[in-house]
Symmetry: C2
Subunit: 404 residues, 2 copies
């Protein structure tokens, strides 16, 4: 008789954003007349930039003719995209990352979730708290996290690094030594950043204790301050200890297009085993590449036209974040994030829990956000709003919150 | 100090098709003047059908306007595609599969590779021998396969079901009871099929012993004989024991477009735990859906226009397979497959091993095929050729083999 992977049974509730989706659909079914504004799930709303649309049409036409039709993509992704990425995201910032250290994929979420497969099941993970749920949940499914304390909302074998107002939402080096350290800057959900010298401390620490940093830089395009690193490879020695995840979802509006990449430097090794080779083997065995058309669309992001158009798109979302930030601040809320990030992180006034505030906002303002406790115990009492809505909806959401 | 998942170290060599790709590139680099014909990797060559191209352009335009732009897809895939699939692939054949039992993905390879995560690590797998390498390799990576015997090319904890000429390349019920049974019909690599009553025996067996059948029907569109089932759900009781994988790669030429789906009936349970719920959780946590544009392209496959165009495309590839089959047979080779399948399986004459024959064919005819031993020990002495080339190349390949 077959048996299931019982680690799945340990997961409390469903995936955070699935839960939010269900709650919103239930509310909408009960109140079909109400217009709900979603500033919750972090999904973008602006159409794809014209340079990307043009390239997509061109690539579709290529698929229509035998001479230019493309079948299976190369395992690591097309050379034209990996070269554009190596130049546009790394060489241009002085990072020595070669095209063959870049693995193109259908998004950072898959890669962030799958990367743990490369590591021993008794490796210990450290995560920021609050944190993007995928890091922890994927390790729960693998059986790496021990026992869940429902009351505290924590796992016995996970090292939590609280990110709260007191430390400016920046994690401190953990007391217990981890094997794998998940870091995400600009941070999801808090919108906080760390400086290059702060990140260098993490790189030095990882190299000292023999840990791997799993660095999620999905929001790097939102950085506006000079001393904030766009890539962990701006730090000395990162090539020996860090894997970086990148996404096209937020910098180019690809949430429904699906494209991302993961950098595994060849210098990153465990003894003489190269993690690059392991990920290569995984890609070859369990993955079949991102669609040709979409890799072409990805390359358009790095053209002069694409860059100019996307700069505007990001500015639009950042302006939304500023409207939320300024609006809530004027109302007396304590807010952070929003400057180098599309996310505004607000302290819930009074004694409501995050989920109570979620329901309160949904029921009374028709505005959807994300409860901080969904990201971890230290997120309790906080709430995330995103700048990814339309301008009109963003302004209206702030107006509605004013009237609460 | 972090440690790796040492199961990866147990994998012998690289992924089969990556190895072939490397060998071909090396040959081509040495002989840039030679025109190599690939009938190896199973990649398609015909352009996308006009109905699909039209729909892709339309969907790209939708992504260009704020009113029609689509962000994250629903977790299971768009309703429009799941409904088309439920109707076109199941209801039309009398199978009771509901749209919410269908999980849209970026391809059957990923799903086949990832599905084992739902099961206990001490579950025992049974596979046909020869077999599509992903089934075994993904279980090796998870640590479910025991010790590898390099000489025999087998894993200590895998139940092998030889599929050889003597049993018409159809597996027999195993002596040792498995927990998970991988079946693929029409078969990759042998091109063999089994009848509906033969498949019913497998379903009855799985229900009797409490095993799950992981049924890969990626090549169902190539079936031409009446008593061959297109879906395992044509068999009574399959909903209680079977998961089915489907691909758009071969029936619609989507190898470079990436789309597939997996059916997990809600009735499939381990005690009171639903495998459907578990896969739903996995999709929500580690996956972000297939691109909207590509789901629209998938829906075009089920339109009247799409169906008519794809019928022609499949007939083209099947005619190629017939050309290979007839050509080799006339040369005195022992061949099978090709009738309900794009794959022709040939017995290597004389004493050459599969890899020796691979090199022989590449060096002396400039034709690339797939060595049978790459699919498992019982594949030794066999060789796979595919009908997915162009007509011209297929004919030329047969001519070149004639001259050997």
């Amino acid at each position: 008789m077959f048996k299931i992977n019982t680690n799945y049974q340990k997961l409390p509730g469903s995936y955070l954003f699935s839960t939010i989706g269900k709650k919103v659909r239930a509310y909408q079914a009960e109140h079909p007349e109400k217009k709900v504004i979603s500033l919750g799930i972090g999904d973008v709303t602006q159409p794809l930039a014209p340079a990307i649309i043009e390239e997509l049409h061109r690539a579709v036409d290529e698929m229509a003719a035998a001479e230019t039709f493309k079948g299976y993509a190369p395992d690591l992704g097309y050379e034209f995209l990996r070269t554009a990425v190596a130049q546009g995201d790394f060489a241009s910032r002085g990072c020595d990352i070669q095209p063959d250290e870049i693995f193109v994929s259908d998004g950072a979420k898959c890669d962030c979730g799958n990367i743990q497969e490369l590591f021993s099941l008794d490796n210990k993970i450290a995560v920021c708290d609050p944190v993007y749920p995928v890091y922890v949940d994927s390790n729960v499914m693998a059986g790496r996290t021990g026992v869940y304390d429902e009351k505290k909302g924590i796992w016995s074998d996970v090292i939590y690094m609280p990110c709260v107002a007191e430390n400016h939402f920046a994690p401190e080096l953990p007391k217990e030594t981890p094997d794998l350290i998940y870091l995400c800057f600009p941070n999801n959900p808090t919108g906080s950043v760390i400086t290059k010298s702060q990140l260098q401390e993490w790189v030095d620490y990882a190299n000292r204790v023999g840990a791997v940093i799993l660095y999620d830089a999905a929001y790097e395009a939102y950085i506006s301050e000079d001393d904030v690193p766009h890539s962990i490879y701006e730090c000395q020695g990162a090539q020996n200890c860090a894997i970086e995840f990148r996404s096209f979802s937020k910098n180019a509006g690809f949430t429904g297009v699906r494209l991302g990449y993961t950098v595994i430097p060849k210098a990153l090794k465990c003894g003489d085993v190269s993690l690059h080779d392991m990920w290569d083997r995984r890609h070859g065995t369990k993955y079949n590449g991102a669609p040709y058309m979409i890799q072409k669309a990805g390359a358009a992001v790095y053209t002069e036209k694409g860059k100019a158009q996307l700069k505007q798109q990001i500015a639009y979302y950042k302006e939304n974040a500023k409207i939320i930030y300024d609006g809530l601040k004027a109302l007396g809320y304590t807010v952070s994030g929003g400057v180098n990030s599309p996310y505004v992180w607000l302290k819930i006034p009074g004694t409501m829990t995050s989920w109570e505030f979620f329901d309160h906002l949904l029921q009374n303002a028709g505005v959807v956000g994300t409860p901080g406790s969904g990201f971890g115990p230290s997120g309790e009492g906080y709430f995330r709003l995103t700048g990814f809505g339309t301008r009109k909806n963003t302004e209206e959401a702030v107006e509605r919150i004013k009237k609460l």
